[in-house]
């Protein structure tokens, strides 16, 4: 009896998981199929591959300076990720390695800012950037994002697992603090960095609201902005939109699969 029950339950588990997997994957399939179909076919829900792929690609490149747009997104994502990791991991390391009462209070205040929604600072931030004449520049995109409290918190948690003996030994060997950070801490914590790269790269690549406000000319727009504006016209050419969507999604998928193993290591390591 209980055997039958267990089998029924495990059947239910597999059915549930299969359904979830199907629902999760279907939109990706839909996106790929869409790149090969014409806009009217897509709107009618055609789910077989068509022959419009080449037309869709040519139309997209005719409508948008894709090379420029792709470069804008790549530049912002890579520079943003490098700066965020440099500044925020340094801070996370210091909060854990050089404990002091005052810094502990500062850290508590930083954690509080985690609950401040972006919408609450967006209006003054915009006015501020306008006064600094930074509207429509990449600087305005990068400046508010590179000190990330979330990443600082994440690095502080991960640093708890960093063996202090390593730092003591390096000190006896005469290394300075910045050398210890650069030559010892950084290589030891590479899983943590990998997970942080995934999180920050995706956040930068996919950033929408702030670039939408700040970047105003076509030659400065990011891929995310272009995808959004292509799809929001009155009669969007969905074939073109789908090609742009694939281009917008591919880099994050590649980064994720390249660093996936380290991502799980880094994540579980920080939870412990």
């Amino acid at each position: 009896m209980s055997r039958v029950f267990a089998q029924a339950r495990s059947g239910l588990v597999y059915a549930g998981l299969s359904l979830a997997a199907f629902v999760s994957i279907f939109p990706f399939f839909w996106m790929l199929v869409g790149t090969t179909n014409t806009a009217p076919d897509i709107i009618k829900g055609k789910i077989t591959f068509g022959s419009a792929l080449f037309d869709n690609i040519t139309n997209l490149f005719a409508q948008v300076d894709m090379v420029q747009v792709f470069w804008n997104s790549t530049f912002l994502a890579i520079v943003g990720t490098v700066l965020t990791l440099a500044i925020s991991s340094l801070a996370g390391y210091a909060f854990e390695m050089f404990p002091s009462k005052t810094r502990e209070r500062v850290f508590a205040v930083l954690l509080l800012t985690l609950s401040i929604p972006f919408a609450a600072i967006m209006v003054p931030l915009f006015v501020m950037m306008a006064k600094l004449t930074l509207i429509n520049t990449f600087t305005a995109i990068l400046l508010p994002s590179i000190a990330s409290v979330f990443i600082i918190f994440y690095f502080r948690q991960a640093t708890k697992a960093f063996p202090h003996e390593l730092r003591d030994a390096a000190k006896i060997d005469g290394l300075k603090e910045w050398q210890i950070f650069l030559y010892i801490y950084l290589p030891v914590m590479r899983s943590t960095y990998a997970a942080a790269i995934i999180i920050v790269f995706m956040a930068n690549w996919n950033n929408y609201l702030w670039p939408l406000i700040v970047l105003q000319t076509n030659e400065n727009k990011t891929l995310t902005l272009v995808v959004s504006s292509l799809a929001s016209s009155y009669y969007p050419d969905y074939g073109v939109v789908m090609v742009a969507t694939v281009l917008a999604t591919l880099p994050t998928i590649i980064v994720f699969f390249l660093l996936q193993r380290r991502f799980v290591e880094g994540l579980t390591g920080s939870v412990k």
């Binding site: 979830a20 997997a21 919408a119 400046l143 508010p144 609201l209 799809a231």
Partner: protein, 304 residues
């Protein structure tokens, strides 16, 4: 001589201490400068701004004018209601689903575990804008979802998903659930793998059935993570913008308008009224604070 050695030792120690102090501040200095300028300063400024009235760059102190305007603004009240509906309906559904998937995937005997885990996590790698557009095209009035649902006899006639207030909200809720369930699941899975296996072993020997092990061991152990993800999801839902702006642009007739979208419209679409926009944004700040506090209270209460 002994005194000298003690003094010397103390001096050396305080020098190291001072160097550590200096390095401690040096290492966090860039962070403090940036956050001070681009986080603390704007939030304080925003508070000041919320008491200003006027349009564009011309404004003057208005006292409680903006707060009174809030209570009489039907669009604001609708945005508040919509955000509340998304919060109350979507977050619990997503967290329960994520917990179920995590529990199923935590079983080491499960076949195709890696495949299921990757598949369910996959939506998280898409950008919010990209997946919103996929959903918008799938839920078109004679689109693929209507076709599939009719083919499977789930419904008789096509639904105008994005043209009807109820169904438009449903699409937004489905979309967010699709995007974020796997993300939450990864947190639960990581936490479940950190639970000591011997606890389950002991319970099994005592004859505790599977569902009871989940209810009385797994769930209590996961409480901190569940609290964390609930707070994060609540904050995320209160800030909802990308999806509604790209799937429905807040329509039909403001039925999916969220607070963030309303602030955006107030600032950048209509004649800018920055003071009033700042007031609306403080509503989000207060909601985040109150809800996070309540969630901590509930979690604490359950422990006792």
């Amino acid at each position: 001589m002994i005194l000298g050695r003690i003094l010397g030792g103390a001096m050396a120690k305080s020098r190291i201490g001072r160097a550590e102090q200096r390095n401690g501040w040096l290492f966090i200095a860039p962070t403090l400068v940036l956050l001070g300028l681009f986080m603390v300063y704007p939030i304080v400024w925003s508070l000041w701004m919320s008491f200003q009235t006027g349009r564009g760059m011309n404004h003057s102190f208005g006292g409680f004018t903006n707060i009174i305007r809030l209570t009489q603004d039907p669009v604001f009240l609708r945005a508040l209601t919509n955000t509340g509906i998304f919060l109350v309906v979507q977050v619990p559904i997503m967290i329960v689903l994520a917990l179920l998937f995590a529990a199923a995937l935590n079983n080491p005997k499960l076949r195709f575990r890696g495949f299921f885990r990757t598949a369910i996590f996959l939506p998280c790698v898409t950008s919010l804008v990209a997946y919103s557009i996929l959903f918008k095209s799938m839920f078109a009035s004679d689109g693929v979802i209507n076709d599939l649902a009719i083919m499977l006899h789930l419904m008789d006639a096509p639904i105008s998903w994005l043209g009807d207030p109820f169904w438009a909200r449903t699409v937004i809720i489905l979309a967010i659930t699709w995007r974020w369930t796997g993300y939450n699941m990864i947190f639960y899975l990581a936490a479940m793998q950190n639970i000591d296996k011997s606890i389950y072993e002991a319970a099994r020997i005592d004859g505790v059935p599977g569902w009871a092990r989940f209810r009385y061991i797994t769930l209590p152990m996961l409480k901190p993570v569940i609290l964390f993800t609930t707070v994060i999801s609540t904050i995320g839902t209160l800030q909802l913008f990308d999806e509604v702006n790209n799937i429905t642009t807040g329509g039909p007739s403001d039925s999916t308008l969220t607070l963030s979208l309303y602030i955006y419209n107030l600032t950048f679409k209509f004649m800018p009224s920055l003071g009033y926009a700042a007031t609306v944004s403080y509503v989000i700040v207060i909601l985040v604070a109150v809800l996070s506090f309540l969630q901590f209270l509930v979690a604490k209460d359950r422990k006792a």
